[in-house]
Subunit: 458 residues, 2 copies
Amino acid sequence: MMANDAPIATDVDAPPITRILADFVAAHPSRGWDASVDRQAHRSVLNWVGCAIGASRHPAVEAALAAATELAPGAQAMILGRSERLDIASAALVNGISSHTFDFDDTHLKTIIHPAGPVASAALALAEHRRASGRELIDAIVLGIDVECRIGNAIYPDHYDRGWHITGSTGMLGAAAACARILELDAGRTAMALGIAASQPIGVREQFGSMTKAFHIGGAARAGLMSALMARHGYTASRRALEAPRGLMQTYSTKCDWREVTDELGLRFEISFNTYKPFACGIVIHPCIEGCRQLRDAHGLRADDIERIDLLVHPLVLELTGKRAPKSGLEAKFSVYHACAAAILFGQAGEAEFSDAIAARADVIALRDRVHASVDASIGESAADVTIHCRDGRDLHLEVAHAIGSLQRPMSDADLSRKFHGLVDPVLGAARARRLVELCGTLADADNVDALKAAATD
Amino acid sequence: MMANDAPIATDVDAPPITRILADFVAAHPSRGWDASVDRQAHRSVLNWVGCAIGASRHPAVEAALAAATELAPGAQAMILGRSERLDIASAALVNGISSHTFDFDDTHLKTIIHPAGPVASAALALAEHRRASGRELIDAIVLGIDVECRIGNAIYPDHYDRGWHITGSTGMLGAAAACARILELDAGRTAMALGIAASQPIGVREQFGSMTKAFHIGGAARAGLMSALMARHGYTASRRALEAPRGLMQTYSTKCDWREVTDELGLRFEISFNTYKPFACGIVIHPCIEGCRQLRDAHGLRADDIERIDLLVHPLVLELTGKRAPKSGLEAKFSVYHACAAAILFGQAGEAEFSDAIAARADVIALRDRVHASVDASIGESAADVTIHCRDGRDLHLEVAHAIGSLQRPMSDADLSRKFHGLVDPVLGAARARRLVELCGTLADADNVDALKAAATD
């Protein structure tokens, strides 16, 4: 305790948001929101289950499962897409990892948090173990996502700019909130669950491109679940763990806009602003993919028709996805050049189009090398300007204001179902996938998660 | 990924310390250091075991154990001082919590890290499970503590000043290093273990005074152990997870002195600078306690003899331990007034002197209220100036330059043994405590930890 004590952040008058959020999570009525919120919760679950099953045989998942198995875990909870059972904490970890491994999960655009991963991975494991109802599970997910994204709203973008992977560093709070709800903790113990979780932010952005990026989601799920279990048994934390001058938020962010946490709490739900990716890569390049795909379909273009593709893009596109020569499928997700080539060659950019084999294919590389991108500060983050110069002399041009999957152009239920089948059919078959679409869509009516488990696991 | 990207820290030329530390941990020869380093390692283990057993029936430990038990854990590893067995990750958590619960563990003074807790809690659990030898365990602890404290040296004090509890936010790296060593991971996988751990810093200072402070130590132990297990099974992280611009260190500290990590690596060992507390509270008030105790013993003072005690102290003393009227034993640890009253009344300030009952005793409160402390900027952090005004008119004065337990005046082996008995006798009895002193002192010669387990658990 012999520090040269010079605090960085000192808002000593911060409102008591740990207590406010705990009261909200513990006391808000079941389904105390519009039908549209409930519908978005079911869409979020469907998308999350699809991503987790789709990636359930990935080496990252195998490695995490092997490590968890070294703990000789009890067989308490399902692993989506697989036959193994793990203890609830390890199940939260592994499902969280698989749901983010393809980078294909949901996005809360205001904070770029991937909301469902940490919250649903923890909540499903606990719901299965406690035999909670579908209604209780959906309630917990809505409330958990609200806590997670409101904290994110308060600290974004400063917190993210510092280097934190915001999904992991807010997700443990959402997971703790959801689990506290399922455990029916009172407001006091819910505050302790949030407080214990507040000491466990997970993830730095340097990990992007490695398996540890997906670990952030699973690790946050596990941390939140264990925080709620510890609080249930009387473990204590500071009552101001989130907001105090040396609490989490002032420690890891200079921006702390408390009103983002409290304004319209219980009236506006952040899950309403959740979006789903049509393409299996960072959303920053979705407008470029969309532009290429639309021009391809409108003009029947093939790779051989194309001399050169010129993109005008927002600065972040090249900062985040500027890899000219990706050497693997994972690296290809960070290459706007590869993504546009795939969109032309295959008409889509799902997980299959970001495989190692596709990244190494000669025709992909040849077209990729004819894609050129320039930063234009006048282009918005959700927009792109695409020009395709054809070998026959035509110049085809398209401005994309908002890609499909944005808040302005949301994926329809049919789009989401198609995406789900693309992820799940190769793993569990089309019949099981259809059954899962139905079960996820009606989850709130289920007495428990047994039917989901039967359909989602071997 | 739509951030307004304005990096805070941008040392893009940082040396490759993740790789450097991984090479060191994987390749440094067994016992590749002076005998004094080995001796300090055994003293650190003894002190850590004593603290953990002493607190093993505390409500914080009971709560953590109950939460871990909800996972239906395998019976893989011992819980010091108890009969239960848990999986290795949960055992690392619970032993880490108990070892810090009394705030009586070791201190690396340059960083105020409590080194053994995260590292030994993880290493012992894994060593038991893998049937590692005592030599392998000691090697892992020396190397793990070196990694932990060198990272701490690089970022202290800025990192601590921001609000991080540095033991939890560096401890997961030490625990990962120690576990990678016990698992005999090669340098590449050791780098991955450090990398996965680099996404899991634990703990903010707002938690001081709650059970979550001790969780930071146990949580770091668990995180490091699981990181090593995941790396063993092929889980990957960034190869520059520690040092890159958006890696851990530049994300959570503005000060990053890379030479503190690399200078004399393998030649100078940070465990050499470990110290042990003679008093069960923050070391910042140890000089005051020492002064009161010495004057008491030299002059045969009793509470009734004393009119008033005047302390001149370093500014941190009042900032950290200025509670005038502590309402519990835990709060009393943050009261220089209580601590000095206890030193006079009981001649010591062990865990017993910081109980709820002692904090509430009328004679303690009466004397506590006669203790007065003033900040004097000329007083060093390890010093205090104590004047006792007696009712018979005598003014007794003592300047304490360094309290017992400091690097300048280390506790002798006999002092440590006495402290150990004070902690362990009430839990396991004096005979078992004597056996444990012997076993901890010769741990490097043991074929495995079976004998330690037999003596340390019910």
